[in-house]
Amino acid sequence: MTTIRRFCCNDLLRFSPVNFDHLTETFNMSFYMTYLARWPDYFHVGEGPGNRIMGYNMYILLELTTASYVSAVMGKVEGQGESWHGHVTAVTVAPEYRRQQLAKKLMNMLEEISDKIQLGFCIEKRFLSRDKAYFVDLFVRASNMPAIKMYEKLGYIIYRRVLRYYSGEEDGLDMRKALSRDVEKKSMIPLKRPVTPDELEYD
């Protein structure tokens, strides 16, 4: 029972049962609020009955059940030309709602939005309109086997390894999935070697 709706500030005060999970990072306020200020349509929450957060994916998905928020999704769209893609910043599902393919719904939602939505960006005084995204990508800790397996099931591949991505210590894996616009699935051809964080194109 998922209601997907935009994440709002008050949800920050309700997601503690989800964030207690050690795989879920609690970012600083500026991080969440910058997302909300810039890409509110890419930050959704899954709400369960009784208005509890079941989890969230910095993208969208809300599961409305009598329990809690399901999940919130945070994402943003970045890049130029064929590197125009949707990025998943965070995904998390509360333990009691796991193994119900919620993350799958969440990711589908994100992909749907990346696929379909026309975005207008205003850069300084010009108005640029962007088309549909080519692929979705995300970073995951190299040790987070449960998440890696889940994304692989959803059709993501490991595109590249980013050395010491997490606080200069743990490696990150950049996983990608091509969207409908990337007909030849060019975005999913994995790199042959690992990269370092300063080689990343986007911050």
Partner: protein, 1017 residues
């Protein structure tokens, strides 16, 4: 900070860039060198000055930075030729902001805008200044000016948002909304709207004025196409129609929503509400977070469904048909919405027609068949169970319990169903009403089941949840229930053992950690509680919502360094956020996400008024005072930093207390302590407390909030009470007291009286009645337990009254049984009585969980400290100063004899009290660890009895000693590392460290009081 480019104040970019680069890479000393060199070339350049100020501030020289800034400002103002550019101003603004002088930044921008009218860049900077100051009216005026210059949609929306903020957060009346509406209408007529957020704002303005039809018209017109996602548009339309009470149309829209998202529960409820024309949910003010217009939702009158029976029946059957259709459309097993919908429909049918047919029960059982194995089943059906009669509940539970527990391992799904059955029994209160013997066997079954099913999780990554994990939570809950009923220590220990066992197997289970930290806290094993709390990695916003798990008990504990860290971490988070909050708001304005700009301001208000924030701002300085109470001078230093306690008085004002917000998330608290100020284990077993539905109802929540507001009021008064008590004690000893009492002394005394009256009121009494209560306690006519609020609050009151009375001599104490009290007596006797009371159980802590150790700590570290400070103040004034003439000093000395006697008696009384405490502590500290260990372990030995603690421990130890070979290597390694003796030692060592810390505090207090004795003339 990004590097800035371009010319500023005539300085070429190439000279400026290296300075910014140095600042960005935090090489401030280098940056300062470069900036000083730059200034020597351009000594009058406000920009060069601003840069230097910025660097000075980063180097930790705020005073110098401010003075350079002010210099730059002067140059800006005085030199007419200079073009004031935004770069200079924004650099200055950064420094002023960091120096907490937003007003100066604003005045710079105001000056610049005045001088260079119609400069959009400057005006945007000025708007930003007003955003930082939350000056909504000025924001609006500036935005309108920009709109008049440029005609751009964004400036209009900035103005409209500023109007909305006046209405929502400021003093603006709702008539302002008409103005906002008119502005938008006019613009749209000639320019249309281009931003979806602008449309949302327009609609929200109409909604706030209840102009639903107008909003709908706009949404269905050309502007509606701004909402790219059809689903969003439909949802908004539906809600507007529902508010406008056009139920049929709303229901049709919601039906469309569900057709594309069959699993959307909230919108199913909206659909059903509209179909049945039931607006009770809207009336209850269900906050619609998307629009945040909680002022609007819920202001209508409630119209419960007035449908005739026939119409109701026909609508219900349309709903059922529709739901069946949805069920065929959902293609997987995880969409529960359309199936839960059946239950909701039957619930409505039952409530409306007051029927008691079996349909609801059948629907429940069907839902169980499909989804009973899921962890969320119980929470899904909670609200439906509440509607059943007692007999029906029993029948359902019996049906569900028929799911057999078999001797062999159940597959995961069946295990899930068994766990659901346990959960349901717990949540309906059935479990807790079982007799003790059955409770015990239930806990045993749960533990056995957990151990038996470990093999199911053998291949799972340790970071993944294990199957059956929740069984240990449930077993722990039962064991705590048993402890509450029987008071047998072994059960409490077993609860701790079970959780530690679970965490040994998988160290990531946060539910275990939270339960454990509360159990350890109850047992005064604070170091272990704190350790587990830290592993939860509670940081950032979780500090606001989850600190309640550890802070309340730490605040009263003797572990001051850890407490200081917790308090500082919280304050840093909040202060850092408030500092950046306005910039984030401006970011939302800039990116045209106007609804978010408003949301951010409202959120900031909410955090600013946080109850916890107030509480910590009060308790942090009180902790400092406690730490320095041995020295009057050091205490006075701390008080001076607080402006003698005046700074905190604002927090105790009615205005502040009324506007407090309560943001703590209590959901994850254990059943026995649903809020931080309630702990059922501290009192006797009460069956009435077992009903889960009655936990934290709205009424109780309100009562709790009222109580907490009073606590804030009282605690905020403390530093000022201490400061005034010190001052009046010393004033009272000036020669020719009353006759020549200075104006200051008199006003201090009357302020002290006034604050004491407020303090007494927060305890629920007038000043005089509060005194009578204390006298009554001493007479034995009243019991300490009967007093509302805390024993320490009353003791503090007596101490401050005594201080006040030293100067005013106005205290009229009632005769108690023919005994005459003076205020010194009052305090001494109260201290004696309370010490005895708090030590009444002379049992050691280990044998007596729930002992009120924390009140003892509070009494010694607070009450005794305040009293000592008053005494120190008296003694300091009694000391002969060099200036006093010897002549006549003999007479003066004699006049102070009664006071000296009273002080001596008081100090003796304090010493005696502390010695009683240290004796009690020493006995426990001297006991050998091995003796304590064997005591604890003996409480867990069954000695052949079936009843009593120890059975669950046997199960755990059996599993640890010889793990099932099917559990796999990782789990069996973990199992073998677990030992019950280790857990017991943890309890012992933890308590020891707390007691020993308290013992040190007591000893140092004793020493300082003994030193005081020497000073008494």
């Amino acid at each position: 900070m990004a590097s800035k480019f371009g010319m500023a104040g005539g300085i070429p970019e190439r000279r400026v860039r290296p300075i910014w680069d140095a600042v960005d890479s935090r090489q401030f000393k280098n940056a300062l060198k470069l900036s000083t060199a730059l200034l020597s070339k351009f000594p009058n350049s406000p920009y060069a000055l601003a840069l230097k100020a910025l660097i000075l501030e980063r180097l930790g020289k705020p005073d110098e930075a401010l003075s350079v800034c002010l210099n730059a400002k002067e140059h800006l103002y005085s030199d007419d030729a200079i073009l004031i550019d935004d770069l200079t101003l924004s650099t200055l603004q950064i420094v002023f902001q960091r120096l907490d002088r937003l007003d100066l930044a604003t005045s710079c921008y105001e000056y610049a805008c005045g001088k260079f009218a119609n400069n959009l860049e400057l005006m945007m900077g000025l708007f930003n200044c007003y955003v930082r100051e939350y000056s909504y009216v000025k924001q609006q005026q500036t935005a309108i000016k920009m709109y008049k210059v440029a005609g751009e949609e964004r400036f209009l929306l900035w103005a409209v948002c500023s109007v909305q903020l006046q209405v929502l957060c400021g003093e603006g009346g709702e008539k302002l909304l008409l103005l906002a509406e008119a502005l938008l209408k006019k613009h749209i007529a000639s320019h249309d709207l281009h931003e979806p957020e602008a449309l949302l704002v327009y609609i929200s303005i109409l909604e706030q004025q209840a102009k639903y039809e107008a909003a709908l018209e706009i949404l269905s017109g050309k502007l509606g196409s701004l909402l790219a996602m059809e689903g969003d548009k439909l949802r908004l339309q539906g809600r507007l129609l529902a508010h406008a009470r056009d139920y049929a149309a709303a229901a049709a829209i919601f039906q469309k929503v569900l057709e594309s998202c069959p699993d959307d529960w909230e919108y199913f409820l909206h659909y059903l509400d509209c179909l049945l024309e039931d607006d009770s949910r809207w009336c209850k003010g269900i906050v619609d977070d998307q629009t945040q217009w909680s002022k609007v939702v819920g202001t209508g009158t409630c119209n419960l469904s007035l449908l005739t029976d026939e119409v109701f029946d026909s609508r219900i059957s349309s709903a059922l048909t529709f739901v069946q259709k949805l069920q065929t459309e959902v293609d997987n097993d995880s969409s529960r919405g359309p199936y839960l919908a059946n239950l909701e429909i039957e619930k409505r049918r039952r409530l409306y027609k007051k029927s008691d047919d079996r349909k609801l029960m059948e629907a429940l059982l069907k839902y169980f068949g499909r989804f009973g194995h899921l962890a969320c089943f119980t929470s899904d059906v909670e609200m439906f169970l509440q509607v059943l009669t007692h007999n029906e509940k029993t029948e359902i539970l019996e049906d569900i319990m028929k799911v057999h527990e078999s001797p062999s391992i159940l597959p995961a799904k069946a295990l899930g169903q068994v766990m659901t059955s346990f959960r349901l029994q717990e949540s309906t209160g059935v479990t807790f009403r079982l007799p003790a013997f059955e409770l015990q066997s239930t806990a045993a079954r749960m533990t056995e089941m957990y151990c038996k099913h470990l093999p199911l999780s053998k291949d799972l990554d340790p970071q993944e949840n294990m199957h059956g994990e929740e069984l240990l939570v449930m077993a722990c809950n039962v064991l705590v229930q048993l402890f509450w009923r029987t008071r047998r220590l072994g059960y409490l220990l077993e609860a701790i053992m079970v959780l530690e066992f679970g965490l040994t197997i998988r160290r990531y289970v946060w539910q275990y950690k939270i339960l454990l930290l509360h159990l350890y806290s109850y047992f005064c094993v604070f170091p272990s509680a704190l350790d587990w709390y830290k592993t939860l990695d509670i940081k950032n916003i979780l500090l606001e919502t989850a600190s309640h798990h550890i802070l309340p008990q730490m605040l009263r504990s003797p572990l001051w360094p850890d407490l200081t860290d917790l308090l500082n971490e919280y304050l840093k988070f909040m202060d850092d956020h408030f500092r950046e909050a306005a910039d984030l708001t401006f970011l939302a304005y800039r990116h045209r996400n106007y609804t978010k700009a408003i949301e951010f301001v409202q959120f900031r208000e909410r955090l600013q008024h946080s109850h916890q924030y107030s509480m910590i701002r009060i308790e942090a300085p009180i902790l400092q005072l406690k730490q320095k109470a041995a020295s009057l001078e050091e205490a006075e230093c701390i008080l001076e930093n607080l402006n003698h306690g005046v700074q905190l008085l604002d927090l105790s004002s009615e205005e502040n207390c009324k506007s407090l917000t309560f943001n703590e998330d209590m959901q994850s608290r254990p059943w026995w302590t649903p809020t931080p100020d309630e702990n059922y284990l501290l009192g006797p077993f009460e069956e009435d407390l077992l009903c889960p539905e009655e936990f934290m109802g709205k009424k109780q929540a309100n009562e709790r909030e009222t109580r907490l507001r009073k606590v804030i009021e009282r605690r905020a008064l403390l530093p000022r009470l201490v400061a005034l008590s010190i001052q009046t004690a010393s004033s009272s000893l000036k020669e020719n007291v009353k006759a020549n009492g200075s104006i200051d002394d008199n006003s201090n005394s009357s302020e002290l009286k006034h604050l004491l009256e407020r303090y007494a009121r927060s305890l629920g009494n007038s000043f005089d009645d509060a005194i009578k209560i204390i006298v009554g306690i001493l007479d034995g006519q009243r019991h300490l337990e009967d007093c509302s609020s805390h024993i320490v609050d009353w003791m503090n009151y007596a101490v401050f009254v005594n201080a006040w009375n030293l100067f005013s001599r106005d205290l009229a104490l009632p005769d108690g049984n023919g005994c005459q009290f003076d205020s010194w007596n009052l305090v001494d006797n109260l201290i004696e009585k309370c010490t005895i009371e708090l030590l009444r159980s002379t049992e050691p802590l280990l044998k007596c969980p729930g002992h009120d150790l924390l009140s003892l700590v509070q009494m010694v570290t607070e009450t005794f400290s305040w009293h000592c400070l008053v005494i120190q103040s008296c003694l300091r004034s009694l000391q002969p100063s060099g200036k006093k003439k010897k002549r006549g000093s003999g007479a003066a000395d004699h006049s102070h004899l009664p006071l000296c006697k009273a002080i001596r008696h008081s100090v003796d009384s304090l010493c005696a009290a502390v010695e009683k405490v240290t004796t009690w502590l020493k006995a426990q500290l001297n006991e050998l660890e091995d003796e304590k260990l064997s005591f604890l372990l003996s409480s867990l030995q069954r000695n052949g009895c079936d009843e009593g603690p120890g059975h669950i421990l046997e199960i755990l130890e059996a599993e640890a000693a010889t793990p099932n070979p099917e559990v796999g290597f990782r789990i069996s390694q973990m199992l073998q590392s677990w030992s019950s003796a280790d857990v017991a030692r943890k309890v012992i060592k933890g308590q020891f460290s707390v007691l020993s810390e308290f013992y040190c505090l007591c000893n140092s207090k004793l020493k300082s009081m003994q030193a005081l004795r020497q000073l008494i003339p």
